[in-house]
């Protein structure tokens, strides 16, 4: 399905850009787990930055796209914005009811509401905060206004009510969310991939094959793939909400705040790896494209690491792989680059998704025996990870802290 906007593959940095915003794949498990973890901390006012982070990326991206495509009329702009939203797997939005003073938008398809229902059978309050912010930012861009021109409310949500629709109200009034300065691509570097013997795994071939696949939203703005609901989400949204969460916790509670937040951000990555990596490694695409060349478990780790390069998370390599552990080398991991762009150099490593992902990959291959195609459900997850055993990790080098790459050592517990 062709689109009316360009999605640019930057193979050198293992990124995909749309309107200057880096976009990457994440599944509904990660999206819901991350947001729930943030909202569990009721004493942190997270709703504003969960909305503001989305307004930031939508506004910056669409302004750029409208310029690039020479779109002048609100109708043309709305059409492209709606198409992009659907393409990315966020659901559907008909923006035609909006005007420069705001308006009401209802949708029967919203990723977060669907995801909450799929994973937790519903929610106690509306969950489509990303959609709220995206809508506010998009509307401002459509009408040529600065980000923060609309106040947004979302009182009716399919996840928390019997309503068949999620409803959003926009009003031309002071923003009820912070207006963040967008950072776009961030300070990407020239990659110097390590020389690693990956035979028989063809990293470049796998990268080319996976990035060539048409993984986009269907008519309802849903991407069912690899046993999960995927989104082509904004790297800068994840970064903004994760780092605002962490910074708020540290501001209120010092190191105790960090110690409580970091394990949950890492666990979000672990959950993501279990479901998305696991889904990929048990898929028919994996069986056809990658599995035929794999004869050892070490090959499986290399194969999935090669595949991770197509997710838009940065360049992933792995070496010294064995049942004892592995060393993951990441160029321009999106969390480090996001932190550098948003907040400058970090005092601690910030590659939480990457850390959880690397642990999850090793757990899947060596501990969960993914080659035997287990059913990837909560029962299996609990059985594997409630007891002792499995893998842990230490981030030895961090690009966010000034190193040239991020290095994660994973070892057997």
């Amino acid at each position: 399905m062709s689109t009316s906007f360009p999605a640019i593959l930057d193979a050198a940095h293992r990124r995909c850009f749309v309107g200057g915003e880096p976009m990457l794949f994440h599944c509904h498990h990660y999206n819901t787990f991350l947001q729930r973890s943030i909202q569990d901390a009721y004493y942190i006012e997270s709703r504003p930055f969960l909305i503001g982070g989305a307004a930031e990326v939508a506004h910056a991206q669409l302004l750029s796209l409208f310029r690039e495509l020479h779109l002048e009329s609100a109708a043309e702009r709305m059409a492209v914005a709606s198409e992009l939203y659907r393409w990315a797997g966020f659901g559907t939005f008909d923006l035609s009811s909006l005007g420069p003073d705001g308006g009401s938008v209802a949708t029967t398809s919203s990723h977060y509401a669907m995801a909450w229902r799929a994973k937790w059978h519903g929610a106690s309050s509306p969950v489509c905060l990303f959609a709220s912010g995206w809508l506010a930012g998009a509307a401002a861009a459509v009408f040529g206004l600065p980000n923060g021109s609309f106040n947004v409310s979302h009182e009716t949500c399919r996840a928390s009510s019997e309503s068949p629709t999620c409803i959003f109200e926009l009003a031309r009034a002071a923003a009820n969310y912070p207006v963040f300065a967008p950072v776009g691509a961030g300070p990407l570097t020239e990659h110097r991939p390590r020389s690693i013997d990956t035979a028989p795994v063809d990293y470049e071939g796998i990268f080319g094959a996976l990035t060539g696949m048409e993984i986009v939203g269907d008519a309802n703005g849903v991407i069912p793939a690899f046993g999960v609901f995927l989104t082509r989400h904004y790297a800068n949204y994840y970064n903004r909400i994760s780092f605002e969460f962490l910074r708020s916790a540290i501001a209120q509670f010092g190191d105790a705040g960090r110690e409580v937040v970091e394990p949950l951000l890492i666990e979000a990555g672990h959950v993501c790896a279990f479901n998305t990596f696991g889904g990929i490694m048990t898929s028919s695409e994996w069986d056809a494209l990658i599995r035929p060349n794999l004869t050892t478990r070490e090959h499986w780790v290399h194969g999935m690491t090669a595949a991770a390069n197509a997710l838009g998370w940065g360049r992933w390599q792995v070496r010294e792989v064995s049942t004892r552990g592995a060393e993951f080398i990441l160029h321009d991991d999106y969390e480090s680059i996001g932190h550098l762009g948003m907040y400058g150099r970090a005092q601690n490593n910030v590659s939480y998704l990457a850390e959880g992902g690397a642990i999850g990959l090793m757990n899947l291959v060596y501990y969960g025996d993914i080659a035997s195609k287990p059913t990837l459900d909560e029962t299996f997850y609990d059985r594997l990870f409630k007891g002792e055993g499995g893998y842990c990790a230490k981030v030895e080098r961090s690009q966010a802290m000034g190193d040239d790459v991020t290095v994660i050592h994973v070892r057997h517990v």
Binding site: D40, Y42, F253, A256, V260, L264, E267, Y381, D382
Partner: protein
């Protein structure tokens, strides 16, 4: 029937999701600091106020999704 902080957390571990205790730590962080209790290091001898125990029990029930036997 869980009566102490340690027992409530054990109940949450056994009945809840993999990182149930990490979630509870987030819920009760402000009062854990006031109590001087490090939830990651609770042992059978860890003492706390009745109010804090009640808060942890409530958080555990929210995380597990069912009442903690009392």
């Amino acid at each position: 029937m869980p009566k102490t902080l340690y027992e409530v957390l054990q109940w949450a571990k056994e009945n809840g999701e993999v990182k149930a205790v990490d979630r509870i730590r987030v819920f009760v962080l402000p009062n854990a600091l006031r109590e001087g209790v490090i939830l990651a290091a609770v042992n059978p001898k860890t003492a706390c106020s009745r109010e804090f125990l009640a808060e942890v029990r409530k958080a555990a029930e929210a995380v597990v999704g069912k009442p903690c036997p009392n």
